[in-house]
């Protein structure tokens, strides 16, 4: 899903909007270089060379109506890929392409390129893919969907936005993927898979359970909290399904808070393990550490620099310490620190003892 306006203007302006968001067209699509000359200067430059999630080269072009050289440029790009695509990995090492991975030519158009896209759909070019980004407004903000018109050199019959390229699974992971699908389907009949060529979302009644992504010929699982793990073994797969099941149980209400927490297998403190811990049920350790902050009220209660309590009410420990220390000796070191800025919690600093 592309957020933000995709304006029907010239190639350059459309490309300027698309280039930073190629990942929204297809998961894992990453722009490597801009301006690829595939026709010895005859038909102009292809907008960009990208790398997909499988490490294959993708030549990306923008289609706008009135571009008389578009068809020729697409032809040249397809021929270029057929001729030298296999050697791009060596010729463009900074692209980090996987040698031997089959390349594609991806033409992206908007409303401004409807006629041009229609023409391209009739071209029988192997390796050509055509998609159209359609924008609409919701609550004042512009959203977009991607309609695939040509997939793997063949026109898509319906051309509907819900018709997306099938999930591509690395050959060595296909058995794992089949097994994973079976296991997830047993969670609940309403569990659904959807996504694009290299990313699949697992949802239950529209609510996200997790995602499976292909990255560099490896399947990765991501749960709703952002925890990721490579699905390289039976154990990894079971662990992922377990997380999906726990998430499902949490959404359904079978497990509440800490009881549904991942890895929650020990006694919790009667009070401390209650509502506070429930907030961390879906969070990673790093997340909870980085999001823990001390509020001004907590500093005040501890007797820090923002203390507001009166001495008659007993004051703070710092006040107690100050009274005791000043009675015995001059105020030193530690108490002078009360004026310093509050320490940030969860910054991962390591101090020595």
């Amino acid at each position: 899903m592309i957020r933000g306006p995709v304006l029907p203007q010239l190639r350059a302006s459309v490309w300027a909007r698309l280039a930073p968001q190629l990942d929204a067209l297809e998961h894992g699509l990453c722009l490597v270089l801009e301006g690829v000359d595939c026709s010895a200067g005859q038909f102009g430059l292809v907008e960009g060379l990208a790398r997909d999630a499988m490490g294959a080269p993708v030549l990306v072009l923008v289609a706008v109506d009135g571009d008389g050289l578009l068809t020729a440029r697409v032809h040249a790009a397809c021929e270029f890929l057929a001729r030298v695509g296999g050697a791009l990995a060596a010729a463009v090492p900074e692209a980090e392409l996987i040698a031997g991975a089959a390349g594609r030519v991806l033409v992206v158009g908007t409303d401004s390129g409807a006629a041009a896209l229609e023409l391209l759909c009739r071209l029988p070019l192997p390796g050509l893919e055509v998609c159209r980004v359609e924008t609409f407004r919701v609550a004042g903000s512009e959203r977009s969907v991607v309609r695939w018109l040509v997939e793997r050199g063949a026109a898509v019959s319906t051309g509907r936005a819900d018709r997306t390229p099938s999930f591509e699974v690395p050959v060595r992971c296909r058995a794992d993927w089949d097994e994973l699908q079976q296991q997830c389907s047993r969670i609940d009949p309403d569990v659904r898979w959807d996504g694009d060529r290299f990313s699949q979302r697992l949802t239950w009644n529209g609510r996200l359970l997790g995602r499976i992504e292909t990255n560099r010929a490896q399947l990765w699982g991501h749960d709703a909290a952002g925890f990721s793990l490579p699905l390289a073994s039976d154990l990894d797969r079971r662990r992922f399904v377990d997380r999906m099941l726990r998430r499902f149980a949490h959404l359904v209400g079978i497990a509440d808070g800490a009881a549904g927490a991942i890895g929650n297998d020990m006694d919790v403190d009667a009070v401390g393990g209650g509502a506070t811990s429930a907030a961390a049920a879906d969070e990673t350790l790093r997340t909870t550490l980085s999001t823990t902050r001390l509020s001004a009220e907590e500093y005040s209660a501890l007797g820090g620099p923002t203390a507001v309590g009166s001495a008659e009410e007993g004051g703070s420990v710092a006040d107690d310490v100050a009274r005791i220390v000043t009675a015995d000796q001059p105020v030193q070191g530690s108490l002078s620190r009360t004026g310093s800025s509050p320490p940030r919690v969860g910054n991962g600093t390591h101090r020595t003892d």
Binding site: N264, T288, L302, D320, D353
Partner: protein, 304 residues
């Protein structure tokens, strides 16, 4: 160094078959026990509060009470428990985490009774420890917990994930703080972070370097109130340790305080803390559902 006459009666009281000489020179691995050891993590938000001092002396006190104790110096790269025990281990945590030696091989019998897994000095920082290292540590702790009554983890200060994983693997987190605002604030930050985890150990508090009797309790009362109100976490008071120049001025090679000056006020305070520790351990022993130290640590590693 404690002379043998001081220690021999205690050792004999534990197990006639386990002599000091056997432990020192044969390096025999401790015998397996039924059930898992009590795992205590000595932690703090701020450095220099006295975690290592307290962990080593508590270990000596528990050993003297007839318990099989091991101290695991988890202050990776900046370890000093071996200095406090006066031993120069051949193998350290560095070798253990690299897989060069087993936990049994890295285990050192100290002259004061407790066993020790010394911290490595070759690991530059916590950031270099990855999940694989932590899994090795989890397996080592599982083995240690199987053949000791108490496993004391001397954890690094701060809130690094690796440090938190170590603390969260324990059944009891002994938070060591001082009655000054910086240490107090950092201790509360640690408690709050622990309380936010889905499963966290019982939090106990020791106030070290107390200049006036009773100040430790006042400190605890304040911290417990704030923890209960804001972090919704109950903490338990273990005791206070007085400020003692005999501790701060100890030289390298001197025996730990509890072994050399058992009658001094600081040693008496530690003995009092130990009684509370044993009471907490006995009265708040987790159920079997806790899954053991290895399971707890692996669960946290998965959340890393």
């Amino acid at each position: 160094m404690v002379d043998q006459e001081t220690l021999e009666p205690d050792l004999n009281a534990i197990d006639a078959g386990r002599s000091l000489l056997r432990r020192l020179f044969r390096g025999a691995a401790p015998e397996p026990r039924t059930g898992e050891a009590a795992v205590l993590a000595f932690a703090s938000g701020k450095g220099g509060t006295g975690k290592s001092f307290l962990a080593t002396n508590c270990a000596i006190g528990l050993h003297a009470a007839g318990k099989r104790v091991v101290v695991v110096d988890c202050d990776f790269g900046l370890a000093n428990a071996h200095l406090l025990f006066g031993v120069n281990p051949r193998f350290t945590m560095l070798h253990l985490l690299d897989g060069a030696v087993s936990a049994a091989q890295a285990l050192v019998a100290t002259p004061h009774g407790p066993n020790l897994i010394a911290g490595g000095s070759g690991i530059a920082s916590l950031a270099e420890l990855d999940a694989r290292h932590m899994q090795v540590l989890a397996k080592a702790l599982h083995w240690l917990a199987g053949c000791h009554d108490y496993v004391l983890l001397d954890c690094p200060a701060g809130l690094a994930p690796q440090s938190m994983i170590t603390v969260l693997a324990a059944q009891h987190a002994v938070v060591v703080t001082n009655p000054e605002i910086a240490a107090l604030t950092d201790a509360y930050a640690l408690i709050k972070c622990l309380a936010r985890q889905p499963a966290h150990p019982q939090v106990q508090l020791v106030v070290n370097r107390v200049t006036t009797p009773g100040l430790g309790k006042a400190t605890f009362d304040r911290l417990a109130d704030v923890s209960r109100r804001f972090a919704r976490c109950d903490i338990h008071y273990l005791g206070e340790v007085p400020e003692d120049s005999a501790v701060t001025h100890r030289r390298l090679g001197q025996a730990p305080l509890l072994a050399s000056l058992p009658a001094c006020p600081t040693s008496q305070a530690i003995q009092s803390i130990l009684r509370n520790v044993e009471w907490q351990v006995q009265s708040r022993r987790p159920t079997d559902a806790s899954g053991g130290v290895e399971a707890r640590m692996l669960a946290q590693i998965r959340r890393w």
